[in-house]
Symmetry: D2
Subunit: 279 residues, 4 copies
Amino acid sequence: MNSVSSSSLDYRRASRHFQRENTVIETRGIVIGGDKIVVMAGPCSVESSCQINELALFIKSTKASVLRGGAFKPRSSPYSFRGLGEEGLKMLAQAREMTGLPIVTEVMSPDQVPLVAAYSDILQIGARNMQNFPLLCAVGATQKIVLLKRGMGNTIKELLMAAEYILDAGNTQVMLCERGIRTFETMTRHTFDINAIPVLKDLTHLPVIADPSHAIGNAQYVSSIARAAIAAGADGILVEVHMNPSMALSDGDQSLAPEAFCLLMRDVEKIAHAIDRPL
Amino acid sequence: MNSVSSSSLDYRRASRHFQRENTVIETRGIVIGGDKIVVMAGPCSVESSCQINELALFIKSTKASVLRGGAFKPRSSPYSFRGLGEEGLKMLAQAREMTGLPIVTEVMSPDQVPLVAAYSDILQIGARNMQNFPLLCAVGATQKIVLLKRGMGNTIKELLMAAEYILDAGNTQVMLCERGIRTFETMTRHTFDINAIPVLKDLTHLPVIADPSHAIGNAQYVSSIARAAIAAGADGILVEVHMNPSMALSDGDQSLAPEAFCLLMRDVEKIAHAIDRPL
Amino acid sequence: MNSVSSSSLDYRRASRHFQRENTVIETRGIVIGGDKIVVMAGPCSVESSCQINELALFIKSTKASVLRGGAFKPRSSPYSFRGLGEEGLKMLAQAREMTGLPIVTEVMSPDQVPLVAAYSDILQIGARNMQNFPLLCAVGATQKIVLLKRGMGNTIKELLMAAEYILDAGNTQVMLCERGIRTFETMTRHTFDINAIPVLKDLTHLPVIADPSHAIGNAQYVSSIARAAIAAGADGILVEVHMNPSMALSDGDQSLAPEAFCLLMRDVEKIAHAIDRPL
Amino acid sequence: MNSVSSSSLDYRRASRHFQRENTVIETRGIVIGGDKIVVMAGPCSVESSCQINELALFIKSTKASVLRGGAFKPRSSPYSFRGLGEEGLKMLAQAREMTGLPIVTEVMSPDQVPLVAAYSDILQIGARNMQNFPLLCAVGATQKIVLLKRGMGNTIKELLMAAEYILDAGNTQVMLCERGIRTFETMTRHTFDINAIPVLKDLTHLPVIADPSHAIGNAQYVSSIARAAIAAGADGILVEVHMNPSMALSDGDQSLAPEAFCLLMRDVEKIAHAIDRPL
C-alpha cells in the first residue's frame, strides 16, 4: 500500500491528537523539547581517547550540552573507516565521566542495542536505518532515549510512522531529526528540508532536532542552516565538530573547527533569544 | 553539454570574483541588497481595483515596502484564471500612486516587456520562465530592476547562469529568488531550499530574496519559513497576502490574512534584529 | 492552487475521454501515432550547410523518417553556442529539399513562431519552455504540427495541461515527448521516466515520442533506452546523431556516430517487430 | 564523505574491471545471469498455505521459474500486516516441495538470517535495508544467493557499494534489483529508473533484475515496464501476482491477476526473443 494514501492513524501515538503537549525528555539534567534550545556536538567518529577527551572538554566549555560521536559507523563503502566499536563506546563513556555531558551515539542493529544502551544516554538511529523495523522495535523495547534521523529518501509521514514503531513498542522518549533529503541539487550534499520543521512541530508532540552538518555538507554554510532551523522552530541542533577537521577520519568537509563552532554558538544564541528561547 | 560540468565562467558577471561588494538596488527610496531586510507583499493575482487598493493600504500600514501582484499569470491549466492583463497593471499603478509603494509584477514574454515595464518598478521572471532565454534577453535589454525566480526543477548554478543572461545583456539590477524546488516530499507544495540562501550569498553579489509562500504552500507555515530564510541570510522576502484568502482567485491556500501577516512581520523583525539587520 | 489536486478536467481535450482513438498526424507522407514507429534523427545543432546535408543524406539512407536539428538553441549558459538562427533554418530546408525528409526544429518565443513555421514541418517546444504559456498559445494558433517536450521538473499531468493549451487554442496536431526528469541520480544526465510512456498512452490520445539521448546523456546507453521506450509503447523516438560526435558544437557526449545509429536502428526494429509495429 | 566523490575502488569486486564475464548463478536447475531471462513471481505476502499453494501451481504452469513471497514484511506503518513470519516460510517451503520452484523471500535483520536461509533459496534484501550494513555483512557470511534491491533514495553507485559489502564478506552470488526511485512525479508510486539497467550492465558483472510492480504501483502498467526492462538488457523480472488482487493483504493495487500475468509473460517473451534471449 502506498504510504501516502495511508490515514493519519498510521502515526496516532506520535500525533498531536494523541498528546497535545510537547513531549519533554530529560537526561543527566539536560531537558530536550522544552523552551531551551539543545545543542549536541562532537565528531563524526570517535577516533581515539585523546581526541574525544579534548573535544569533550572543549564542548563542555561552550553552551552545548550533549556530546555526539560515532563508534559504529554506517558507511556507503565497505572500504571506509567503520568506527572503533565497543572501544569507541568506552572512550565516549570516559569523556562523559570527565565532563558530565550526556552522550548520543548510533546503534546499527538489534543485537547491538544492549551494548550501545549500556554506554550511551541517547541511542541514535541513523538515516539509513530509519526504516530498519527490527531495529526500531528493539530500541522501542528499551527505556533509552532515541534520536531518530529522517532517511534521505523518506517522507515526513514515513518519519512519523517510524517513530510510531518505537512508541508502539512502549518507549515514549523519542526525538526526530531532520538531516537533509536527496534532491537533484548537486551543489550541496543534501537539501535540508526546512519545511519539515514547522510541519513536524505542528503534527507531532515529539521534539524536533536539526542536523545542519549532514544536510549541507560544507562547514562554511553550517551556521546559516543551524540559525534557520532554530528560527523555524527546531528544539535543538546536532553539529559535527572536530579539533582538526582536515584530519578527520570521516565527514571532515562538514565538520567545524572549534573557533567556527564558537561563532555558530554565538549566532544561534542570538536567534534563540529573538524567539524567547534560551540556549 | 551537461550544465553541472560547465566551469564557473558560465556566471562570471554574477560571481563574487567579478564583483566583491553586494549589488545594491534602489527604487522609489527602497533599498534592496543593503543591510535592511525588504518585505514585498501582496496578492497572487490582482483581482479588482478595490481589492488591490485595500490591500495596498494595508501593506503600507506595515513595514513591508514593496507591493506585489500578478496581472499576467502563468497557470498550469488553460482553464484557470490567467489574470487581468493590462487592466491589472493599471490597478497596480493606481495603488502605487495612492501609497507610494513600488510594485513588482510578472512579465511572461518578450513582447510583453515594454508594456509591463511601463507600469511596473520591478519585473518579475516567474519560476516557469527561469530558462526562457529570449525573455531573459528582453528584460536584460531594459534598465528595469528584475526579480528572477528559481525554477522548481532548476539547480542553483542554472539560476546563476540565467541571471548571467540578464547581466550579459547589459542590465545589472537583478535579484534572485528562491521559491522552493520539486522533491519527492508531498506534504508540502514544494521544498524550500534553505541551503540555497547561504550558497547564493557566497557565490554571487546579487541580492537574494526568499518566497516562503510558494515554497511551502500552506499559510500556517509561511512565517516559519520566512524567519528561517532571514536567519540564513536572505536580503528580503516575498509574501502572498490577501484580505480574504478563502475567496482568492489563485493561491488562496498559501495566502496570509492581514492579521497573520502582521504576526509574520513581528516575528521576522525579531529575527532581523537578532542579526543586526533592520526591517 | 496545487496542480496535483486539480481535476482531470484540466486536460479534457487531451484526454481519452474526449477522444477514444489515437490522434494520427501526417506530414510529407510520414504518419505519426499510427502503427508504424517513427524515428526522428539529426544533430543537436545545425552547424553548417555541409554538416546538415551530409547527415540528412545519411539519415535518408536509414529507416529514420524525420530530420531534427536545432537552429535556435536554448542554452543554460549565455556563453554557449546558441545556434545559427534563420541561417540554420535555411540549411534545414535545403536538406529537406534534397532528401524529402520533413524537419523538426525548436521555436523559443512567440515572435519566432512565424519564422520557424515558414521553414519547419514540426515545431518543437523544448523542455525549458514546456510551461511558456504565451509560446504554447502562439503555436496553438498555427496549424503546424507541434512536438511538446516534457520539462525536466514537470509532472506528467503538467505535460498534459501544457498540451491542453495548444489544443484549446485550436491546434489538434500535438505530440508529446518524454526526455528525462531531474532526480537525485548523478550517474546519468537525467532519469528517463519510462513509467510516463504507458501512463501517457493510457490517459491521452496524442502520440508519445521518447528522446533517449537527452534522458541518459551518454551515447553508449542511448540504444538501450530507445529499445525500452518502444517496448513500453512509445510511438517513436528522437535521437541525436552526428557524423563526428567529438566535434559537435553541442551535446556531443550523447550523440551517436553513424555506425552506432545503424546498430540502434537494427535493434529498435527488432523490438518494434516483436510488438507488431513496423518501422 | 560524499559517496559521489568516492573512487570506483569502492566497488572493486562488483566491477567489470575485477571480472569481465557475467556472474552466473544457479539454484535448483534455474540459471540467473545467463542468456535466459528469469521470471520470479508470486504474492507480496504469503497469506495462507492454501493461497501460496494455489499460486505456486499457477506460477509453475507458466514459464516463470522462481516463486517469490514475503513472510517477514517491512511496512511503513506499524499497524499494517507484517507477515506470517516462520509460518510463512514453512508454507513457502511446502509450495516449493510441491512445484520444485526455488523460492526468494525477504530477510530483515542479521539474527533472522539463519532462519530465513534454512527455508529459502534466495535471500532478498529489501529496498529499505539496502544500506543496513550489518545485514549485508550477515548475508555475505552465508553462501546463499542474495537478491539486493536498490533503495528508493539511493544512487546506482550506492547500490554497487552495498553489493560490495556482500562480496567483500565472501559471498559472490549476488544479483541486483532496480525497483524504482523516489522523484517528484506523483502519478506513479515510484519512478522506474530504466537508465540504471544499461548502466549497471556496463559497470558490473552481477545479474540485474527489474521489479516493475513496485516501480509503477499500478497493475495495468506493469507489463509495459517489464517489457521495457527486458528490452533495455535486464536479466530477469520480479513480478507480484495474486489469485485475487483486490483481496491481497498488501500491495493489491500493483498485483497482477493470473490472466494479466499470462498476458505479461506472452509479451515479455516476444521482447526476449527479439533480442535473442529465451525465456
